[in-house]
């Protein structure tokens, strides 16, 4: 059957990619690779600074975009009366959800790196990635909030609960699993982005691990890119190694989200 063949081909393409990546990364794999600083010599190159940079960026992005995004979703769904303003805001959010990440990089360069004078730092990277994740976090959180049955709210209101009590006690607990799942998907996609960081001016050879958000911008995705563009054979292995490390970071983020989600479901059930 043709459709079955197509499905098998899709699965095969994915497997090929995974196998090629791991096979190429194999020779780079040792413990030093994880902690060593980046280097111009492939043998001595490690992903220590890039890994630390990506962890910083992930933390900053979640810290900025999650509260603001969920807060906005709650306001739009529970507080703002439906009508003109609501339509304008949700239209704008929906439109910006489809804008390519590299465009956010250009805007971030003008706004954060130059406009606010942050320079090409992890902080500027975190702000840009947060802006990139924001529309998706808002859209998925709104969908999760809207899926909470009306009756739950009405029952609480009829018992004399105030709006905040309804939001805090009923809506958020019921919507939390959906909010976490949707936001986490957005954050995983954002943390894997290289394009906006490249535009902001990420460094490709960094000799020390960043200790604060004011340190220079470095990350695993941009490190994979920088090493991929080098023609020497041995850099292909470290690029693949950095790619595998990036995939592992994203996998851990996904596992954390799953655990959090299971906890939340346990509480609200």
């Amino acid at each position: 059957m043709a459709c079955g063949v197509a499905a098998a081909m899709v699965a095969a393409a994915f497997l090929t990619m995974a196998v090629v990546l791991v096979a190429k990364a194999w020779s780079a794999a040792d413990l030093g690779f994880l902690f060593d600083p980046s280097s111009r010599v492939a043998d001595r190159a490690g992903i220590g600074p890039a890994l630390a940079g990506t962890l910083w960026l992930a933390a900053l992005t979640v810290a900025f975009a999650f509260p603001v995004g969920v807060g906005t979703a709650v306001y739009l769904e529970e507080y703002l009366p439906p009508g003109g303003v609501a339509v304008v805001v949700s239209g704008a959010v929906a439109n910006l959800a489809g804008v390519p990440s590299v465009v956010y990089g250009v805007a971030g360069l003008a706004l954060f790196v130059r406009g606010m004078g942050m320079g090409p730092t992890l902080l500027a990277g975190g702000c840009t990635l947060a802006a990139l994740a924001l529309p998706t976090v808002i859209v998925t959180s709104r969908a999760a909030i809207r899926a909470v049955p009306r009756g739950l709210r009405e029952a609480a209101y009829s018992l004399g609960a105030t709006r905040w009590q309804v939001v805090r006690g009923q809506v958020l607990p019921a919507a939390a699993p959906g909010i976490v799942t949707g936001s986490c998907a957005a954050f995983i996609r954002t943390v894997g982005e290289a394009a906006p960081l490249l535009v902001l001016g990420a460094v490709s050879v960094m000799t020390f691990a960043p200790r604060s958000p004011a340190d220079p911008l470095t990350s695993l995705p941009t490190q994979v890119f920088a090493w991929s563009t080098r023609s020497q054979q041995d850099f292909a292995a470290v690029a693949a190694g950095a790619g595998v490390a990036l995939l592992l970071v994203l996998l851990v983020m996904n596992l954390v989200a799953r655990v959090v989600r299971r906890r939340l479901q346990g509480v609200s059930a």
């Binding site: 906005t72 390519p100 003008a110 739950l152 709006r163 991929s228 995939l247 609200s268």
Partner: protein, 305 residues
């Protein structure tokens, strides 16, 4: 513990929280709106400033893109054509494969196979595009060069294949949603009338889901047009008009990513060019994305006509 969570005894702190809640949520909304307005605004302002020095007519009609030459030329057509070629090429590979995979998952596969395929789709969606670009450059391109020795080291075909792989999950997920929203009764009626499963799927189920499938295609193409890292790594940096898929080309996104913008001084015409290119890219992806969302809204209104 739903209704039990409401305590009627703790009165005082509740009032304070109540009074703070609305302004706090409003502040979040204002901050989010301000960020997104600033993103759109800075693009608009710099683009308008750029068109103050470079005529928009020349920008959209000339065929030379040499912003850093002695006599800079800003003809965006080669970049725009390259983006169109990559988008169309990626869709050429991903749409049939994704559509058929979605049909297989919805109408043929057993529970276990479906779960495996859904898992693969989810994993593929989480793979960063820079990793796919690496795959294209170090695996697909050498393969193509072995097949067709004339292939350039940077070529459009390799990028199209990898971008196609990247947009597959989008095509599959949205097509599945569209197929799932078609009433199962249609399938049962068709089968009861004696038509084979393949016939009912091809003649009834897929046509009934057409608007949703169209939405899947446009949303996937919007992602393909905005994809940066794969084309930057695999398609090269020659801003040229060419029809050959085995030659290199340079898309709107690749130009932005490759030109190490961080070094261009603010206020120069070259700096402005990044914003103009970004605005064009914005317009292209917005058009595709809006069309996709329009088709999606038609789907949710139902109607099989």
């Amino acid at each position: 513990m739903t209704a039990a969570g409401i305590s009627v005894t703790r009165r005082a702190p509740r009032r304070l929280a109540d009074r703070l809640a609305r302004p706090a949520f409003l502040a979040c909304t204002v901050l989010a709106a301000a960020t997104l307005v600033a993103v759109a605004g800075v693009l608009g302002v710099e683009t308008v400033r750029f068109f103050g020095t470079v005529s928009p007519v020349r920008f959209f009609t000339e065929v030379d893109w040499t912003p850093f030459a002695e006599e800079p030329r800003f003809g965006v057509l080669p970049l725009l054509a390259a983006t169109a070629q990559i988008t169309a090429g990626a869709a050429f590979f991903a749409v049939p494969a994704g559509l058929m995979t979605a049909v297989y998952m919805e109408h043929y596969a057993g529970v276990r196979t479906e779960r495996v395929l859904a898992g693969v789709t989810g994993l593929l969606a989480a793979v960063p595009t820079v990793v796919l670009g690496y795959f294209a450059l170090t695996f697909v391109t050498p393969l193509l060069r072995a097949l067709w020795p004339g292939t350039e080291a940077f070529n459009a075909l390799s990028a199209c294949l990898a971008v196609g792989l990247m947009i597959l999950p989008t095509v599959i997920v949205f097509t599945r949603n569209a197929l799932r929203s078609v009433p199962a009764a249609l399938m049962e009626t068709g089968l009861a009338l004696g038509a084979g499963r393949g016939r009912v799927v091809a003649r009834v189920m897929v046509p009934a889901a057409a608007p949703g499938i169209g939405a899947a295609v446009f949303l996937a193409m919007a992602r393909a047009a905005g994809e940066t890292m794969i084309v930057t790594l695999a398609a090269g940096n020659q801003a040229q008009l060419t029809w050959s898929p085995l030659e290199g080309l340079r898309t709107l996104t690749a130009y932005i990513a490759q030109s190490s913008l961080g070094d261009a001084p603010s206020g120069t015409v070259q700096y402005g060019a990044f914003f103009a290119v970004s605005a064009v890219l914005f317009a292209v992806t917005w058009g595709l994305h809006a069309t996709g969302r329009f088709l999606m809204s038609r789907r949710s209104r139902g109607g099989l006509g």
